[in-house]
C-alpha cells in the first residue's frame, strides 16, 4: 500500500522537526529514511504511524486519508528503536497481543504465533520473558509482534541501532529477505548510510526537517543532488569548491596534465582497500582509496612524493538562501 505524505509540518515549541515535507513511498517497496540525528526522520515516521499529529498536511495510506485516524486503525505495524517489549508478558504473549486484542479465535492465534515465531527463528524462546532474550532476539520478537496483525505498512524506527555490528549485518540481510517474501510496504529510519544502501529499494535523504533527495541507492551515490547528499552518502574529499570521492583520486608516479604533486602522509591497510592520506602541493589534504595490488605496485610509503589527479570532481550550485549544509564527518563503514 503506497504512502502519500503532503505538506507535513511538525513543530515542537520553537523547533521545526518536519518542515513542509511531501513524499510518496511506492507500494511494496522497502524505503529508508536516512539522515543525521535530529533531522526529523523519526518524527516523520511517527507521523505516518499516527503517534504524532502533524500541525499541517495530510497522510494518505493507499486510498484512505488517515491524517485524523488514530494509530489503532491505520493498519500499520511499528517496530520501536528499543523494541518496546511488554516486559510482563512472555515472548508468545507479546507476539499474540495484537491478535488477542482483535479477539481472534484461540486456535488461530496459537497457529499464527507459532508460524511467526518460526519465521523469526525464536520458537525455542516462546515461554521466556523479554528480559531473558538478547538484543537481536528481542528485535526479532518486536518484528514478529508487528507482523502478527498483518499490517499493510510496516514502519521501523532505527531497527538495528542498538545492536552490535555482527548482529546488525545479519538482521539487515534477514530483513531484506523477509521483505522479498512478504512485500509489505516498509519504511525504516536509519542514520547509517551503509545500512540504507544495503537494504533499501529507495532512499529518502532527510536533513533539517526537509527532504534533500529521493532515489534508488545507486542514483544517490552517483548523482547526488547537493553537497549534503554527496557528503552523507559515501565518503568525500573537498578540493576548493569541488567534491571528489576517495576512489576517484588517482595516484601516479609521473606528472600528467591536471595532476598535482603530493606528499604521502599515512598509508592504512583496510583489507582489500588501502587508504592513503596525502598533503598536496597547494596545501590541501585529501585521502585516496586504492586497491591493495595497486598500492603495492606503487610501493607507497610515508614521505614519498607522488602525483595525484581527481578523476571525477563535482561542484554544486550554491543554494540561494541559507549557507550550504556542511556535511558532518563522512560516515565510515
Amino acid at each position: 500500500m503506497a504512502i502519500v505524505i503532503e505538506h507535513i509540518t511538525k513543530r515542537f515549541g520553537d523547533f521545526i522537526a518536519v518542515d513542509d515535507v511531501s513524499l510518496t513511498v511506492p507500494d511494496g517497496e522497502l524505503t529508508a529514511l536516512l539522515g543525521p540525528s535530529g533531522s526529523g526522520k523519526s518524527t516523520l515516521l511517527r507521523i505516518i504511524a499516527g503517534l504524532e499529529v502533524p500541525d499541517t498536511g495530510s497522510v494518505v495510506l493507499g486510498d484512505r486519508d488517515v491524517t485524523n485516524v488514530p494509530p489503532q486503525r491505520r493498519g500499520i505495524g511499528f517496530v520501536f528503536q528499543h523494541y518496546a517489549p511488554f516486559k510482563h508478558m512472555t515472548v508468545r504473549d507479546n507476539v499474540a497481543f495484537g491478535l488477542t486484542i482483535r479477539k481472534r479465535p484461540r486456535d488461530e492465534v496459537k497457529a499464527r504465533v507459532h508460524d511467526l515465531l518460526s519465521l523469526v527463528q525464536i520458537e525455542q524462546f516462546a515461554d521466556r520473558y523479554p528480559s531473558q532474550l538478547s538484543g537481536g532476539q528481542r528485535q526479532r520478537m518486536a518484528l514478529a509482534r508487528a507482523l502478527a496483525v498483518e499490517p499493510e505498512v510496516l514502519l521501523l524506527d532505527e531497527p538495528f541501532g542498538a545492536l552490535d555490528a555482527r548482529v546488525r549485518k545479519e538482521l539487515r540481510a534477514w530483513l531484506r529477505r523477509l521483505h522479498d517474501e512478504t512485500h509489505v510496504t516498509t519504511v525504516f529510519v536509519t542514520h547509517d548510510q551503509e545500512e540504507a544502501m544495503e537494504v533499501a529499494d529507495g532512499i529518502v535523504v532527510v536533513n533539517h526537517g526537509a527532504i534533500e533527495q529521493v532515489g534508488p541507492p545507486r542514483e544517490l551515490y552517483e548523482h547526488p543532488a547537493n553537497e549534503f547528499v554527496m557528503g552523507f552518502i559515501g565518503e568525500v574529499n573537498r578540493l576548493g569548491d569541488a567534491w571528489v570521492r576517495p576512489h576517484d583520486i588517482d595516484i601516479l608516479f609521473d606528472e600528467v596534465p591536471g595532476s598535482v604533486e603530493a606528499l604521502v602522509e599515512r598509508v592504512v591497510y583496510l583489507g582489500f582497500e588501502v587508504r592513503v592520506e596525502l598533503l598536496r602541493r597547494d596545501g590541501s589534504r585529501v585521502w585516496a582509496e586504492v586497491p591493495r595490488d595497486q598500492a603495492e605496485e606503487l610501493e607507497l610509503r610515508v614521505g614519498q612524493i607522488v602525483n595525484t589527479r581527481a578523476r571525477d570532481a563535482r561542484t554544486f550550485p550554491v543554494p540561494d538562501s541559507s549557507p550550504p549544509s556542511v556535511p558532518e564527518q563522512p560516515v565510515t563503514a
Binding site: A49, G50, L51, P70, P71, Q72, R73, I76, G77, F78, F80, H82, A84, P85, F86, K87, H88, M89, T90, R92, D93, A96, F97, G98, T100, I101, R102, R106, V109, K110, D127, A142, R145, A146, A148, V149
Partner: protein, 310 residues
C-alpha cells in the same frame, strides 16, 4: 591472628573492602539501635499483655467498645485504601504523562499530607465541614453529619494516606516510559485496554507497595481522626483512639490488647507485602497477576497455563 590475615582468608568466599572490626562495629550499632527503638518496646507490649494469662486478654477482646473500634478501623481502611488507590493511579498518570498549567502546584500539593501535622489536617477539616464551618450550615440543613461522625473520619483517613500510591507509582511510570503503551496502540489496543493490559501490569509493584503503605497509614492514623471524630466510645472510636482512651482510664490490659491487635494487623500487612515481593515467579505473584487480569480468563491447570497463555 592479624586483621589482614582474617581479610585474606575470607577473600576466597566474599570480597571485603576493609578491616573487619569497623564492619562489626557498624553492624552492632545498627542492631542495637533497632533493638532499643523497635524490638524492645513492641516486645514489651506483648509481654505485658500476656503477663496475666490469656483470660484478661479474652475479656478485653470481648468488650463491645473494642469490637466496635476494631471494625470501624477496618471499615475506614477499606474505604480509604480503594479510593486512594484509584485516584492515586489516576493522579500519578496525569502528573507523569500530561503537561498542563498548575502541574507543579498539584505535584507539591500531593505531598501536603506528609508535610502537615495530622492534627492540623483534622482541624482544617473541622473548619470546612464543622457546624460553624464553610459547608456546616448546608450540611446541617441536609441532615448529614460529617464532623464527629464516620464520614469525617473517612475524610481524615483519606487525607492523611493520600500521597502513598501517587508517590510509589510516579517513579515506576517514569521508568517504563511510553514505548510499551505506544506499541499497544499500534497493535490496535484502545486506551482502556492498553491501560488494563500494559500499563497496569507494568506498574503493579508500585501500586501494591503503595497500597500496603496506605493501609498501614490508615490503620495507624491517630491525630486527624482524633480531632474530627469527637472520640465517642462505641461510636467514633478507632483502635488507636481506643488504645489511648483505655490507657488514660488505667485499663492497661485493654490498652495493651488493642495495641497488640494493631501490631498484629500491621505485621500481617507487612508479611503479605513480603510474600508478594519475594514471591516473584511463585504462587503469590501468579495470584496477583490473575487478579490484575480481572478474571479475563478462566484458570486452567498449571501445566497448561505456561504453554497456552492467551
Amino acid at each position: 591472628m592479624t586483621s589482614t590475615a582474617v581479610t585474606g582468608s575470607q577473600n576466597a568466599r566474599s570480597p571485603s573492602y576493609g578491616r573487619r572490626w569497623p564492619r562489626l562495629l557498624v553492624r552492632s550499632i545498627g542492631l542495637l539501635y533497632l533493638a532499643l527503638l523497635l524490638a524492645l518496646p513492641v516486645g514489651l507490649i506483648f509481654v505485658r499483655t500476656f503477663a496475666g494469662g490469656l483470660e484478661p486478654v479474652f475479656t478485653a477482646l470481648r468488650s463491645p467498645d473494642f469490637q466496635h473500634a476494631f471494625w470501624l478501623t477496618l471499615t475506614l481502611a477499606a474505604i480509604a485504601v480503594p479510593i486512594n488507590t484509584v485516584f492515586g493511579v489516576i493522579t500519578a498518570i496525569t502528573l507523569v504523562r500530561r503537561r498542563f498549567p498548575g502541574r507543579g502546584l498539584l505535584n507539591a500539593v500531593i505531598d501536603l499530607p506528609f508535610a502537615l501535622s495530622p492534627v492540623v489536617i483534622g482541624l482544617s477539616l473541622v473548619l470546612v465541614y464543622g457546624q460553624n464551618g464553610w459547608f456546616g450550615s448546608f450540611l446541617k440543613a441536609s441532615g448529614f453529619q460529617v464532623i464527629f461522625a464516620v464520614p469525617g473520619m473517612v475524610l481524615a483517613t483519606v487525607f492523611v494516606s493520600l500521597p502513598f500510591v501517587v508517590r510509589e507509582v510516579i517513579p515506576v511510570l517514569r521508568e517504563i516510559g511510553t514505548d510499551q503503551e505506544e506499541a499497544a496502540y499500534t497493535l490496535g489496543a484502545s486506551v482502556a485496554k492498553t491501560f488494563l493490559r500494559v500499563t497496569l501490569p507494568a506498574i503493579r509493584w508500585g501500586v501494591i507497595y503503595g497500597v500496603v503503605l496506605t493501609t498501614a497509614r490508615s490503620l495507624g492514623e491517630f491525630g486527624a481522626v482524633s480531632v474530627v471524630s469527637g472520640r465517642i466510645s462505641g461510636k467514633t472510636e478507632t483502635l488507636t483512639l481506643y488504645v489511648e482512651e483505655r490507657y488514660s482510664e488505667f485499663d492497661l490490659i485493654g490498652a495493651y490488647t488493642a495495641a497488640v491487635v494493631l501490631a498484629l494487623i500491621a505485621v500481617a500487612v507487612l508479611l503479605a507485602m513480603n510474600a508478594l515481593q519475594s514471591g516473584r515467579g511463585n504462587q503469590a505473584r501468579e495470584w496477583v497477576t490473575d487478579l490484575l487480569r480481572l478474571g479475563r480468563r478462566k484458570r486452567r491447570p498449571v501445566a497448561e497455563t505456561n504453554q497456552a497463555e492467551i
